[in-house]
């Protein structure tokens, strides 16, 4: 439909046949389904730790997968996670520039805390996440990305170098500095 004005209150990506890339057949759809199943948590967590507001994480994650959907045929098999990470970094950078007020971690509609059935453990997790957020905010964007991808998401240095399009040595250097900041803040 031409001339359509986007709604402010409705997710523009809600059920809409237009988002399905023409030409995607059964195998592409199966591949995409499997990728969402496998990497949805990774992308959501990554966006959140990269500083995207809780309330915007889901939209940002959907945007990330929309991008993958559009470029699916160009993304080499086995390199999807790196592609998603790269997209998420760009989307997170845009989101941070437009950021509003961050909501408290633990909104049950958005996140599933591992220890939800145990309120005390869940509270501990929220506290740790809040503390981690303060620590991550002390890092530069590059250091933060290297730290999250390596320490939290456990990508290898080679994978991170590919995601960030820099040399492995550069990743190692950013990571070392990020770890110093993290360890110093964790001790205090």
């Amino acid at each position: 439909m031409t001339g359509e004005a986007p709604s402010e209150l409705v997710d523009a990506s809600l059920p809409n046949p237009r988002v399905v890339v023409p030409g995607h057949g059964w195998f592409e759809r199966r591949r995409l389904t499997a990728l969402v199943e496998r990497h949805w948590d990774f992308v959501g967590r990554l966006l959140r730790h990269l500083g995207v507001d809780d309330g915007d994480v889901e939209d940002a994650a959907q945007q990330t997968f929309m991008t993958l959907n559009q470029k699916l045929e160009q993304v080499e098999r086995g390199k999807e996670r790196a592609f998603l990470a790269s997209c998420a970094l760009n989307i997170a950078a845009r989101s941070r520039r437009q950021r509003g007020r961050r909501r408290e971690v633990g909104d049950e509609a958005l996140w599933e805390l591992e220890a939800r059935e145990n309120p005390e453990a869940a509270l501990d997790q929220r506290r740790r996440l809040a503390r981690l957020e303060v620590i991550l905010a002390k890092m530069s964007e590059e250091q933060r990305a290297a730290f999250i991808l390596y320490e939290i998401e456990e990508l290898t240095l080679a994978e991170i170098a590919e995601v960030l399009a820099v040399a492995q040595g550069t990743v190692a250097s950013r990571l070392r500095r990020a770890r110093e900041i993290f360890q110093e803040a964790a001790r205090s």
Binding site: T33, V105, E108, L110, L157
Partner: protein
Amino acid sequence: MSDLERLSISGSTDERDLVRAARDLRPSSASKQRAMLGLGLASATALTPTTAVAVAKSIKATLGAAWPLFASKWTAAALIVTVGASVAVVRSQRLSATPPQRPEHAAAVPAPIVQSPPPLAHSPSVASRRSEPEATTNLGSPNTQVSPGASSPKRVAAPSPTEVELFDAARARLSTGDSAGALKVLGEQLHTYPGGNLALEAKALRIEALDGMGQRQRALAEAQAFLAQNPSGLTSHRVRRWLEKRSMP
């Protein structure tokens, strides 16, 4: 270049706990389902590995002694895919064609008719979107009609628009400035699918439609009521932002 030892292994207890808390954070499974819908993927009806195993077990149990005849892996795989696809098709057809059963008191209310709505025809991808709550039995569609000329009444089920179709129609109308039309279709959606997967979105869209009709005070009141009933969630987040923007002087 060899990788450094990770903090989750070499760090202090405190450092390990911080990293673990970050790693344990997961988006809700509902958000993943919404993403599947957004991408036009049939997450619930597609043949996932778990479903495939369940289907295979079911086939094996049904075939009993004849199972070894099918036990070559390629034969079994072909059988699983075929049966699984049939199950998905049948199920998605049922989901897209059958509105949920209405409460008893609503059964006597004539089905409201959406007049000349924009595309309400079944689109190919609608069946795969699984937007309607699953109805286990179809105990009479509200749109069932009786043929007047027939000697024995013949019940013909008129195609009912699915929840997604109604929602898309309302959204399309709102986007072209037809707020009144959108409001009418949303009323039909919320009446037919009161607990549907898109009910919250429809209520949010209704706020926007009311505002579009110039009923600002009513829209603000509905937004506040919406947030009181649904304090958290993605749609509430949008409504809250909308409300904050409208409340600014």
